[in-house]
Amino acid sequence: MGNAFLPDLAQIANIRDETRDTKTFALRFLDPARWEAFQYRPGQFAEVSVFGVGEAPFCLASPRDGADAFEITVRAVGAVTEALHALRTGDVVGVRGPLGNGFPFNEVKGKDLLFVAGGIGLPPLRPLIWQVLVEQASFHSIRVLYGARTPSDLVYRDDLERWRGRDDMQLLVTVDVAGEGWTGNVGVVSTLFSKIRIDAPATIAFVCGPPVMIRFVTRDLLNLGLAEESIITTLERHMRCGVGKCNHCLIGDKYVCTDGPVFTYRQIKSMMEPA
């Protein structure tokens, strides 16, 4: 019988600075067989241990492609994330996963896909966007709306450049507060809705970001006519065990770690507690 609480060791293969407080870590299992078994879908997460400090959940932020490592994007805000930021390439952490349900993929083929990300909300959507682009002909349209507080809070600048250069998708970026040299959009991410044409019945929206951003974006999407089940998001809770045992991430009777973290707005609306 496997022990769901036992992490596997992984080495930090690469560290990339994203913003002043956010880094992306590439993690490679010490045991290659573990990587073979680590098949995941976008939207799932992993519990990452810094031994001696603790464990925290992170979304799997890179597609499961030919690489031999996966990425997590980490903002330094608490004990585990600050300890992660203090580690260097070659250091060893623990990984449990993949955990959680993941985004729908085949179910949304043929649709207009609208990705709406706020700040550190882009990492959960990033592997899905890349997966969709691999099969872009299966989708009617692919649009990414990304907002951050300031230009220096934008993550994945390389990805943004590559997406901007493609003609099979559309990327719109905005910042709340423009700095010097910023010539792009200014305003919260939902101000970008007026810049595109949305065919509500054909659209599936994937929304990720801070709770307040999710609330306003959801309201605007409903006003635009999107169905409740066409608005898909990932919920955040402090998931400690990740396997539906410790009860920390419960919302009513729903475990964010095992029933989610991906939920439709229709599911969220029927929850016994505010999501």
Binding site: N3, P7, D8, V92, R237, R240, D253
Partner: protein, 349 residues
């Protein structure tokens, strides 16, 4: 001996059997504490076992799900973690003369920890433990197991159930594991005469009749909680009564929320599993400072939703309360199960 056998043992032979159990495994039974208090603990002699008690101050869960429990150990080589090993406790345990409510509670823990993915930390201990219940002929003043369908006598779930008769004990064997607890001592047990079985039925009826009228009326509260019909005002009011001490959760035989903490030593370290309570403010606090259950009333609601809702009863096979009455003693703010269900029923504090 076989499963489903009904036997009797005399009071004078009982210590011989208990001595035999002691020689085979760790034995946990009710023991006298200071004053009139009794609590389950490891016993070293048949004389330590208290047979005439109402209920243990604390439930069984600390033996199967300890308050601080090592889950894994990592080894450090040249400053880096090099191996991770699970830590298991594979001790054989027999729980003797424990109350039916506590047996019922263990069955709920079994369902929760046993659900996929299985929590092997718990299930390995549980597989190596046996439950010998002592049926309740004199329920305590705070008891309401009868409302929770968890006592005062058990119909199932026990390995062995004992009932005190005039000159000895009726011994009901519920499982193969229970039968094995009698093996080697066959000569101490005789087949139960019809009079002993009649006495059991009569004692069970009499015990049920001793419960007062003003106990926890679950049914009405279950419906209100299941359909989210309890007003936010009422939860807020009960939140104001809650001291956030977690005492109710720690004495509750079915509460099993946990957190983890890492401890380091020279060669590596270990990760501990620690009891936690959903009534603590930091329980849902996120590193960003965001707390989805920032108000005490929301936390009280979450706790009773987990205990009483049909949604969770489906997951756990029963409602998350066995009517042991320990929260009545522990809660300084009167947010115990009978009081809360009464408030929900009348819709006011």
């Amino acid at each position: 001996m076989r499963e489903h056998a009904a036997l009797v043992i005399t009071t004078s032979d009982l210590p011989t059997w208990v001595g035999h159990l002691l020689s085979r495994s760790q034995l946990i039974a009710p023991q006298a504490l200071v004053g009139s208090d009794v609590a389950y603990d490891v016993v070293s002699s048949p004389d330590d076992v208290r047979w005439d008690y109402q209920n243990s101050l604390t439930p069984l869960k600390r033996f199967l799900f300890p308050p601080s429990d090592p889950m894994l150990r990592w080894t450090q080589t040249n400053g880096r973690p090099s191996a991770v090993e699970p830590v298991y406790d594979d001790k054989e345990r027999v729980f003797l003369a424990v109350r039916p409510c506590d047996v019922s509670a263990v069955l709920i823990l079994d369902r929760s920890f046993g659900r996929d993915p299985e929590d092997v930390q718990y299930t390995r201990r549980r597989q190596r433990s046996a439950l010998i219940a002592l049926a309740c002929t004199e329920p305590g003043p705070n008891c309401f197991c009868v409302c929770a369908n968890a006592g005062p006598f058990l119909d199932q779930g026990y390995d062995v159930q004992l009932t005190r008769l005039a000159h000895g004990y009726l011994v009901e064997v519920g499982t193969e594991k229970g039968a094995s607890l009698l093996s080697g001592c066959e000569s101490l047990f005789d087949p139960a005469p019809a009079a002993a079985l009649d006495a059991r039925q009569r004692l069970a009826r009499e015990a049920e009749n001793q419960f007062g009228e003003d106990k926890a009326y679950f049914a009405a509260a279950l419906r209100q909680v299941t359909f989210n019909r309890v007003s936010d005002d009422l939860w807020r009011g009960m939140g104001e009564l809650c001291l956030g001490c977690g005492g109710c959760a720690f004495v509750c035989p079915t509460c099993h929320c946990f957190a983890t903490a890492d401890c380091t030593d020279s060669g590596g370290g270990c990760r501990l599993r620690l009891w936690d309570s959903c009534l603590y403010e930091a329980y849902t606090l996120e590193a960003s400072g965001h707390n989805p259950r920032a108000e005490r009333g929301q936390r009280v609601k979450a706790r009773f939703f987990h205990k009483l809702s049909y949604q969770f009863a489906q997951k756990l096979g029963a409602h998350g309360c066995v009517g042991c009455g320990r929260c009545v003693t522990a809660c300084l703010g009167s947010n115990d199960m009978p009081a809360v269900t009464a408030r929900i029923r009348r819709g006011a504090l």
